[in-house]
């Protein structure tokens, strides 16, 4: 029972990071139907900016997070403007290949600029274990921080998307881009804004991952990015609550497999869960079934 609860807690904190990354995937997908493979690399950039802010300039973790959000947003918008915007009207595959190309570019550019070593991430928040129920239940301060920050970000995102003007513009564009632009919405700005939000969330996730794994590396973004993409598909890509659900589900499945079986099995199991869900529900857990127009 104790391992079970411990793994649930592990899964929740890792899952909340996945959920943050998945939100960026899902929003970009919802608006321009693009699997943004470079999203994981934006996360990596966020983590490095956070690292430099804390380790070199001695900031506290919260201002480091804000700065890394800003930096990642700039990178995200630049990628969108340079690589994705010229392809807005071409085939899905060429955009997908461009995204893969951007991902490779940032990974290898990162290896050149940042070096190939693993960098220890400063443990600015002390790892304090809290015990509950007479020591049966242990929660670390890191888990609490990761979970709280993620939930705050998600609430903020729900507010922006649901209750602000730019949020309703985003929903309009994702619903029907043509009609939205006819109604006087500047589609380009909305797309850039989507990239800003997605990249900011990825930057926060990057800093949190740095705290969680205690090291960062130029290739650190790839696997979490892939997992988060799986989470987004699991929950129904393009659906914001779906990304959160998928992220938490994935985190818990991973933690359970690592805790009760073996860590080498966690990746295959994650993908098996994904495929079973897709076969049973082809658009993901919360995905809408669209009927096909003939």
């Amino acid at each position: 029972m104790e391992t079970f609860i411990a793994q649930i807690l592990n899964g929740l904190s890792l899952g909340s990071i996945y959920a943050l990354i998945a939100l960026g995937y899902t929003m970009v997908y919802g608006i321009i139907q693009l699997i943004n493979f470079a999203h994981g690399e934006i996360l990596m950039i966020g983590a490095y900016v956070g690292y430099y802010c804390v380790a070199v300039f001695g900031m506290n973790i919260y201002s480091a997070m804000v700065l890394s959000m800003l930096a990642s947003s700039v990178v995200g918008v630049l990628i969108e403007r340079i690589a994705y915007k010229p392809l807005r009207n071409s085939g899905r595959l060429s955009v997908l290949i461009t995204a893969i190309g951007m991902s490779l570019l940032l990974q290898n550019g990162g290896l050149i600029v940042l070096g190939t070593d693993y960098v220890p991430f400063p443990q600015v928040i002390e790892r304090v274990p809290y015990h509950f129920f007479g020591g049966h239940l242990m929660v670390t301060s890191h888990q609490v921080l990761i979970f709280t920050v993620s939930i705050l970000m998600m609430i903020l995102l729900q507010y922006i998307v649901g209750y602000t003007k730019i949020g309703s513009a985003m929903r309009a564009v994702s619903h029907d881009r043509e009609a939205a632009s006819l109604m006087g919405i500047n589609v380009d700005n909305v797309i850039s804004f989507t990239f800003i939000i997605g990249s900011s969330l990825a930057a926060v996730a990057g800093v949190l991952l740095g705290l969680y794994y205690q090291t960062i590396h130029p290739l650190m973004g790839f696997m979490p990015g892939l997992k988060a993409f799986v989470a987004a598909v699991l929950g129904g890509i393009g659906v914001i609550p779906g990304a959160m659900l998928g992220g938490f589900l994935l985190g818990i499945v991973e933690a359970m497999v690592s805790g009760y079986w073996s860590t080498t099995y966690k990746d295959p199991v994650v993908f098996i869960v994904l495929i079973i869900i897709l076969i049973v529900k082809p658009t993901g857990l919360l995905g809408k079934n669209t009927s096909e127009k003939v």
Binding site: Y29, Q33, I35, A83, P86, L87, S90, G91, R92, L93, S94, V95, L96, I97, T98, I100, G101, M102, L104, L105, Q107, N108, G109, L111, I112, L226, F229, V230, V233, I237, S262, T264, Y265, D267, P268, F271, I272, L274, I275, L278, I279, P282, T283, G284, E292, V294
Partner: protein
């Protein structure tokens, strides 16, 4: 294709084989680095042409090609090393197991569309890799070492030509036309009475079959295989070649397979800069020529009519 052009193509192919054979095996003035890249070129052409059948001609975005390559590589390696199969039989065994896995994976997943199919096949590629890491019999994460080095230029050449000819003929056949119809409009194809599930699975597993051959060639040339070799990156590479060559062009896939291999070889001294240049080129090609090198056009034997004009009219028309 006219008889004349067919014989010219045969002569050209024979010359290519003969010249490289003389240069590598007889006179040996091609160094080992160049030889490795010649083998790679063959493997990459097989991968690109076979994936093009799935993505370019049938319109099913699949991202698990490396997984099938892994199956071919492992099965053929185990059959030669443990059961003493002769090389051609081992390659065939790898390809057949890959084919069967293609049917097994294709039947449930090909009901998915577009990006969902992409992520499901990507998942299968990762599952195959993840399972291989956990099987002690094939060496786990360390992989298999000491596979006999049998693949040479002649084998690679024969397999590559075999793949291109079979896939080219498949596409020109009635089955291939059905696949193209599915790509262009799946609903209309179904209404026309085309069994879409059958043809999608056929194209997918046929692609897997040839990826299995590529894997067999690979394992018997580099004499060691690891699950990490067949990571997602390999599937991406194959997809990049397909899209660069042009979706729905066999010739394009052949050229892209050759081009990507030799570009990689030419840039290899640059280290990490190589990948930076490669990715910038990739993005640039997609922005300025999103339909790929060849679009969906083919280079046919007709080109010889232009290069070597013959007396009298064109009997090809």
């Amino acid at each position: 294709m006219s008889k004349r052009n067919l014989s010219i193509i045969c002569i050209v192919l024979f010359l290519v084989w003969g010249l490289v054979f003389l240069a590598t095996d007889v006179f040996g003035f091609i160094n080992s680095f160049q030889q490795v890249n010649i083998i790679w070129a063959g493997i990459n052409v097989i991968l690109a042409v076979s994936l093009n059948l799935v993505v370019g001609f049938t319109g099913q975005l699949a991202l698990g090609h490396a997984g099938f390559m892994a199956i071919g590589a492992y099965v053929s390696a185990v059959t030669t090393m443990q059961f003493g199969f002769p090389y051609p039989l081992a390659i065939l065994a790898g390809a057949l197991v890959s084919f069967l896995m293609g049917i097994l994976i294709g039947l449930p997943t090909l009901r998915l569309r577009g990006d969902y199919l992409a992520i499901a096949t990507l998942g299968f590629g990762e599952i195959i890799r993840g399972v291989l890491v956990n099987i002690e019999y094939v060496g786990g994460a360390a992989g298999i070492n000491g596979i006999p080095k049998i693949t040479n230029w002649t084998w690679t050449f024969v397999m590559t030509v075999f793949t291109v000819v079979i896939i080219n003929n498949f596409i020109k056949s009635m089955h291939g036309k059905a696949c193209i119809t599915i790509r262009d409009d799946e609903v209309a194809a179904e209404l026309m009475g085309i069994n879409t599930t059958y043809y999608k699975t056929l194209a997918f597993s046929l692609g897997a079959f040839f990826a299995g051959i590529a894997g067999g060639l690979y394992s018997h040339y580099f004499f060691m295989i690891q699950p990490a070799t067949f990571a997602l990156q390999k599937s991406f590479d194959a997809l990049v070649m397909v899209v660069l060559g042009g979706l729905g062009s066999v010739t394009g896939a052949v050229f892209a397979g050759l081009g990507v291999t030799f570009l990689n070889a030419a840039l290899i001294e640059l280290g990490a800069f190589r990948m930076v240049i490669y990715s910038i080129l990739l993005v640039a090609v997609m922005i300025f020529r999103p339909q790929g090198l060849m679009g969906n056009k083919e280079l046919s034997g007709k080109i010889f009519d232009r290069i070597l004009p013959k007396k009298g009219g064109n009997d090809d028309a």
